[in-house]
């Protein structure tokens, strides 16, 4: 049963990822990204991480990709781009090297961490099975008490990003950029 779910979800993830790279139309690529994100959400559910799955769908599929699509629509990038132009010279061979390097790192991490996968997570799982809410409770306790400082710093970072965007996007007349 778990194998069937895994194979289906993995097919969704890989198919979506291939679609993002290969589709010429940006809207189709964004939709493939949604497919990938859903596949990952299914994997989360099959590992009892229901809250992560819900957040994955709400935040990534429901907000971020919607924003991507929004920008694509507003800019009207309907025609496929000319693929022969390289904004950074030698970007294609560089991409191959970096992608290969990332893959090596991930494989190395999986190989070295295999022992932990087999044994770890036992404490969390027994708590999860007791009551469906306890998983979320553990997560909340971890975020809002143990790691509250990191959490607050992250929110400040996001706030700075928002303020920065507004400042950059605003046309100020005295600088001569506005109408």
């Amino acid at each position: 049963m778990e194998l069937v779910v895994f194979v289906l979800a993995a097919a969704m993830v890989l198919g979506g990822a291939l679609g993002v790279v290969t589709r010429a139309n940006p809207v189709h690529a964004a939709m493939s990204l949604v497919l990938t994100l859903f596949g990952i959400a299914v994997m989360f559910v099959s590992h009892n991480a229901h809250f992560l799955a819900a957040v994955q769908v709400i935040v990534y599929a429901g907000a971020i990709v919607v924003l991507f699509l929004f920008v694509i629509m507003l800019l009207g990038v309907d025609e496929s781009e000319d693929l022969s132009i390289e904004p950074i010279s030698k970007q294609r061979p560089l991409a191959f090297i970096l992608g290969g390097g990332l893959m090596c790192i991930i494989i190395a991490a999986v190989v070295t961490g295999r022992k932990n996968f087999a044994s770890g997570g036992g404490a969390l799982e027994s708590a999860t099975l007791e009551s469906p809410d306890s998983n979320i409770r553990l997560l909340a306790r971890s975020i809002f008490s143990t790691n509250v400082f990191a959490f607050e710093i992250t929110s400040v970072l996001l706030l700075v990003a928002v303020v920065g965007t507004v400042v950059m996007a605003r046309r100020i007349k005295s600088l001569g950029t506005g109408k």
């Binding site: 049963m1 139309n25 809207v27 189709h28 939709m31 949604v34 229901h50 809250f51 799955a53 819900a54 957040v55 769908v57 709400i58 599929a61 429901g62 907000a63 919607v66 924003l67 699509l69 929004f70 629509m73 507003l74 469906p132 809410d133 998983n135 979320i136 046309r171 100020i172 007349k173 506005g178 109408k179």
Partner: protein, 409 residues
């Protein structure tokens, strides 16, 4: 022989046998059929009520009181010519109606449709020797599932407008997606108040806690989250007075201008289905769902009906009230202007729901820590007023800055 078949393990899981599987299948079928029939009746209900409010007769030819009018319209739409615009993106154009319809049905799955919540039974019903709930699914993430579904429902409308390959649908869908993304924040934050008070995410758990009128979440959360949720839900549904998505005077017909035949019917179906689901969600979250109305120790009991079915009747009655309110909105309120819509969402609803959430959280912490409730309320009220003053000041400054820059709004 039959027992031999029934003891075969269908999912090769070692734990599940046929009976729970059949129960789930029956539930899926019931939810699907109930959804379709309810939508059909809702369309008729809306036309009839709005006709009454405008001194007209409304549909009165097909069936008694015109009740079969929707069925006739549906059959007519099936046989209409199916047009595919030349400049459309064929695949996405065909996909978009289903992307709207499927979330509309999915969200219905987590609504408790009945069951006995009295005397601590928690809505459990015995069916063929199995304890089960009268609800299709009770996922551990509960109401977050509804939020996730409503956040992916925007894709259908967005892609429909884009794939049509013409200007007005595109404008309509850009409006729709901006509106839905904005109001989702207010929706989620007012939902947060309910989750804070209930201490659980599960819809059955939330219903279980609201055993009498005084413990309904609308009272327990202090009314404000309910009104924010109602307004945000209306905007999320793109219903009047927030139906800028299909403002005929400005956009011809909005995102579905290029759609015809059964594809248009699917959008129509999804829209009304969503209205029913959202009303049921409001009832579940704030009005005790299938719980009977009880004040103090006296419970309004419907005689001769088993308690589990009585829950369904109560849910139906409560949902009808909200469906009527939605029709009433449509008949009464003029459409918002686009900047008014965004102002209401971002400058009023989101700060208000955040502030109220903070107030509730402070009360909760104060109660747990044994602080004086009056002091806690006073301090949080002062903080709220301070925050409101700051927000007003910031808006005033930015408005005067914009006017200095020569903006006309």
């Amino acid at each position: 022989m039959i027992s031999a078949i029934l003891s075969v393990d269908p999912l090769l899981d070692g734990k599940l046998l046929w009976t729970p599987l059949i129960i789930v299948l029956v539930k899926v079928l019931i939810v699907f059929v109930v959804g379709l029939v309810a939508t059909m009746l809702m369309v008729w209900f809306e036309r009839k009520v709005i006709a009454g409010m405008q001194n007209r007769v409304g549909p009165n030819k097909a069936g008694p009181w015109g009740i079969l009018q929707t069925l006739a319209d549906g059959i007519k739409l099936f046989f209409k010519e199916d047009l595919l615009p030349e400049r459309s993106d064929k695949f996405v154009f065909k996909l978009a109606p289903y992307l709207t319809l499927v979330p509309a049905f999915l969200a219905f799955a987590i609504i408790p449709l009945g069951g006995d919540f009295r005397d601590g039974k928690g809505g459990m019903v015995t069916m063929f020797g199995h304890q089960t709930r009268l609800q299709l699914a009770d996922p551990p993430v509960g109401v977050l599932f509804a939020l996730a579904i409503s956040s992916i429902a925007v894709y259908g409308i967005m892609l429909a407008g884009w794939a049509s390959g013409s200007k007005y649908p595109l404008l309509g869908s850009v409006r729709a997606s901006a509106q839905m993304v904005s109001y989702e924040a207010a929706l989620g934050l007012s939902l947060g108040a309910v989750i804070l008070v209930s201490g659980t995410l599960s819809t059955a758990g939330i219903v279980d806690l609201q055993s009498s009128v005084g413990r309904w979440n609308i009272v327990a959360t202090g009314f404000v989250p309910f009104f924010i949720f109602l307004i945000a839900a209306t905007a999320e549904l793109n219903r009047p007075p927030f139906d800028l998505v299909e403002a005929e005077q400005e956009l011809v017909g909005g995102f579905n201008t290029e759609y015809s035949s059964i594809r248009f019917a699917l959008f129509f179906l999804a829209e009304f289905m969503n209205t029913i689901t959202m009303s049921a969600l409001i009832v579940t979250l704030f009005f005790g769902g299938p719980q009977p109305i009880s004040i103090g120790d006296t419970t309004l009991d419907i005689p001769l009906l088993p308690n589990a079915l009585e829950g369904t009747v109560w849910l139906l009655l409560k949902v009808l009230v909200f469906l009527y309110i939605y029709v009433w909105f449509r008949a009464t309120l003029p459409r918002f202007r686009y900047d008014q819509l965004m102002d209401l969402g971002w400058k009023i609803l989101i700060p208000a729901s955040l502030g109220w959430f903070m107030l509730l959280a402070a009360q909760r912490v104060g109660r747990d820590a044994g602080w004086d409730q009056i002091v806690v309320t006073l301090v949080s009220a002062l903080v709220l007023i301070g925050g409101y003053a700051l927000l007003q000041r910031a808006q005033k400054v930015s408005r005067s800055n914009r006017e200095k820059d020569g903006a006309s709004f």
